[in-house]
C-alpha cells in the first residue's frame, strides 16, 4: 500500500485530542505530515501528524520551543490563511477514513506541499524538542490487526 500523502504536505485530518487519543477529533483540521511509517507485518500505515491552528500567535508573547508561526505571505504560498504549527503536539494516526475522511479522494485531502526550506525548519524544531523537552506520552490510537 503506497501512501496517498507525503511528508511535508498539509492535509485534512481529524486530529485526536490528547484527552481521547483513541478517537478521531470532532472536526477536521489541517495537519502537517512529518513522517509516514508502515508496520512490516501488518502492512498498516501511520501518519506522524503535527497540530496546526489558525489562531495567531501574539508577537509579544514568549514563543515556546516547537511553535512555528507562519505569516500571511508564507501561508498564502501554501494555500492557507496565517497559521501556527505546534510541533509539541504530535499524533501518529492510522491512515484510514476515520481519521482522514477525504482519503478516497486524496487530492481533496491535500491542502498544499511545504517548500524544502520550510520542511527543514520543522525538522529542526522537532530535533530541538527531542533533545530538550519533557516527553509526555499517551497510548493510542489503535491500529487494525493489533490485539490489545
Amino acid at each position: 500500500m503506497s501512501p496517498p500523502f507525503q511528508p511535508g504536505q498539509f492535509v485534512w485530518c481529524r486530529f485526536p485530542f490528547f484527552e481521547a487519543p483513541l478517537s478521531p477529533g470532532e472536526k477536521e483540521r489541517i495537519v502537517y505530515v512529518a513522517d509516514i511509517r508502515q508496520h512490516p507485518a501488518r502492512r498498516v500505515l501511520t501518519v506522524m501528524s503535527l497540530y496546526t491552528t489558525t489562531r495567531t500567535w501574539d508577537a509579544d508573547a514568549a514563543r515556546p520551543l516547537g511553535i512555528i508561526p507562519v505569516d500571511a505571505a508564507a501561508a498564502a504560498r501554501m494555500n492557507q490563511k496565517p497559521f501556527v504549527i505546534d510541533a509539541r503536539r504530535i499524533a501518529f494516526v492510522p491512515l484510514d477514513e476515520a481519521f482522514f475522511p477525504r482519503l478516497r479522494t486524496p487530492d481533496a485531502a491535500i491542502v498544499s506541499t511545504a517548500p524544502p526550506a520550510f520542511r527543514r525548519q520543522v525538522e529542526n524544531a522537532l530535533a530541538r524538542l527531542a533533545g530538550r523537552a519533557d516527553l509526555v506520552q499517551q497510548l493510542g490510537p489503535d491500529m487494525p490487526g493489533r490485539r490489545r
Binding site: 501511520t46 501518529f92 499517551q138 493510542g140
Partner: protein, 86 residues
C-alpha cells in the same frame, strides 16, 4: 497569602496524579501547581499520541530520498520516542 480553590476532576485522573505526586515525593497540590507554572511559562512539553508498538513501524521510502535523508528521518523518529520507554 495562598488561595484555596475547589477542582472537579475525573476520579481516574486524581488517582493517577496522586500516584505521580507520591512517586516524586511531593504533595498533590505542589504537583498540580508545578504543572500549571510550567504551562504558563510556555515550557516545551511534547504531547505524543502513538500506538504502543509505534517503534515497530518502519519509514516508508520516499521518492528521491537519499539513504542519508532516510537515516535522518529515522533518527528523528526514534529521538522523539526515546523518552517514552518504548
Amino acid at each position: 497569602m495562598r488561595e484555596t480553590v475547589t477542582l472537579r476532576l475525573a476520579p481516574e485522573v486524581i488517582k493517577a496524579a496522586k500516584r505521580r505526586a507520591q512517586a516524586d515525593n511531593r504533595t498533590l497540590t505542589n504537583y498540580i501547581e508545578t504543572l500549571m507554572i510550567r504551562d504558563l511559562q510556555g515550557a516545551a512539553t511534547l504531547e505524543v499520541i502513538a500506538p504502543p508498538d509505534i517503534r515497530e513501524f518502519e519509514a516508508v521510502p520516499l521518492p528521491g530520498e537519499t539513504k542519508a535523508e532516510r537515516k535522518r528521518r529515522d533518527a528523528l523518529f526514534h529521538a522523539l520516542l526515546d523518552k517514552t520507554g518504548h
